[in-house]
Symmetry: C2
Subunit: 309 residues, 2 copies
């Protein structure tokens, strides 16, 4: 199985309102409720692609119960969340019916006690031996040490398990130094890590900081991969309109599924770019449109070159 | 005991953000979670005033469980919510740290099945004989007939139980025709019911439509009461600054507690106006500031006259 870690697992709510106007009252016409957090999104896309996946992280309170109940219904997905006293955070995406624009509110997440963090580390060590790859995704809830991902990267490497890190800020900086196999920053995260806004230069710099390979997700410009095997760019045919929430998570699922299936880098990047664009095109945030995905697979342009041996 | 009915009981969330800006992302710095809906707020204030209170309505889903868990902790308050398949709605109040202004989002509430509505009517009939007064409060969730409050008013009257109705729109219009003992509209609700924006005229018109007594809550202008026993105005000493959420519910609790304690109309109105202003002054929406309440009690001006016998 593929293991995904979401330390700040969320209950994602999408609210539809006519138009958000600060300091007034709004009737919400539609509420969509689903488990979220980057690693959970990655897990759901992997399961939809036919991979067995285990999702871990923390679950507590009423929101945690709602997350568990809904994950239990996803085929091929095993939920291995560690119980905690606090309640999982909610995120709220408020979508304006008139413009389609989204306003986001993110709760901070539960306070994690040192014993709860210890229980998570034990569970992670138990899960690693059965994992073909692991994805470490998203922000850290309060109480989890800022160097958490560096620990988790080292543990995966000690077990010889391929490890992908997708986070930001100081947790990314420290995690990269522990030499993960792959990181997937977006343009902002890459610039924050390296200080450079020039994607190719920043990507090369991120490798020098410790990442074996870097796949930068550059929105409508597609993906830029810098790896020991070569450099590539994967670009969708046209700009896709829609909601970009979860597009990066779908790219991570594309990269990991391609890795465990033994695809070449260009084929992995094609899949990742097609899934990412098909997620933007989907009506519900964080889901991908399967028809769009299959149609896009044949239309992703990959250019680049293999490194000299 | 005093019975309060909240057909659209809610889990009220208060989010603190720096400043709400549409179409951007926000970190929520503080989350406060409490059971809400007008009748629940009335019940909590009655309990705080030392009255035994029973709250009924519907509870379902994870939000319903959270509401029940928290109501169980309130002294003097008995929870008699009827289980339903759907989940209780959430309301979200987003408070700007910079300005103190609030943006409100209200979910619509669960779909109530005809058998669930039937189960509620049975529970209500069971509770009425032990009630000294009943308050029917707030909006109707989907599936509850628009004439629901008219039914509940008639059932209370058949049991000889004093019944107060506090709702708006068509449910208020129909409920008033069933001749409740008291309604407590705000200025907008009163204008919608009667077509008149002149409070005294509108209040008199509301009585002709069926309400035995009317206490209109007019914000900073205090309360206007038109009853068979006389007409009064109760006015706080100065404009109180703060969050008006729940001020009307505190006024309802003041009126009902005064009624069952046998207070005169002027004393009931004094209590209701003081509680209402002390709710605006409280830092948390829907709670009242006890020190402010006790201090305000001596400073409410009541003017008016007793009707000729």
């Amino acid at each position: 199985m593929i293991l995904t870690v979401t330390l700040n697992t969320a209950l994602d709510l999408t609210y539809r309102v006519r138009s958000l106007r600060p300091h007034t009252s709004h009737r919400v016409s539609e509420v969509i409720e689903r488990p979220g957090g980057k690693g959970v999104n990655v897990g759901r896309v992997l399961a939809a692609l036919g991979h067995e996946v285990t999702v871990t992280g923390f679950a507590g309170g009423g929101t945690g119960r709602a997350i568990r109940d809904r994950l239990a219904d996803v085929p091929l997905l095993t939920e291995a969340l560690v119980p905690v006293a606090g309640a999982n955070r909610r995120t709220i995406a408020i979508v304006d019916e008139l413009s389609g624009d989204t306003t986001q509110l993110n709760e901070p997440g539960p306070q994690i006690a040192p014993t709860e963090w210890g229980a998570f580390l034990d569970r992670y060590e138990e899960l690693l031996p059965s994992a073909s790859a692991v994805a470490l995704c998203g922000s850290l809830p309060p109480g989890v040490p800022v160097g958490a991902y560096a620990n988790l990267v080292r543990a995966a490497r000690a077990h010889g398990v391929f490890v992908l890190l997708d986070t930001s800020g100081e947790p990314l900086r420290r995690g990269v130094a522990a030499r993960p196999d792959l990181i997937k920053p977006n343009a902002d995260e890459l610039a924050e890590l390296t200080g450079s806004h020039e994607p190719l230069r920043a990507t090369q710099d991120a490798r020098r900081r410790g990442a074996q390979s870097v796949v930068a997700s550059l929105g409508a410009q597609g993906l830029l991969a810098v790896t020991p095997e070569g450099h590539w760019r994967a670009t969708p045919p046209t700009r896709v309109h829609g909601n970009p929430t979860g597009a990066g998570d779908s790219a991570v699922a594309g990269l990991l599924s391609g890795l465990v299936e033994g695809l070449t880098w260009p084929d992995r990047l094609t899949r990742a770019a097609a899934l990412s664009a098909a997620t933007v095109a989907a009506p519900v945030a964080g889901e991908f449109d399967r028809t769009a995905y299959e149609e896009l697979l044949g239309r992703i342009s990959v250019t680049g070159k293999v490194s000299a041996a």
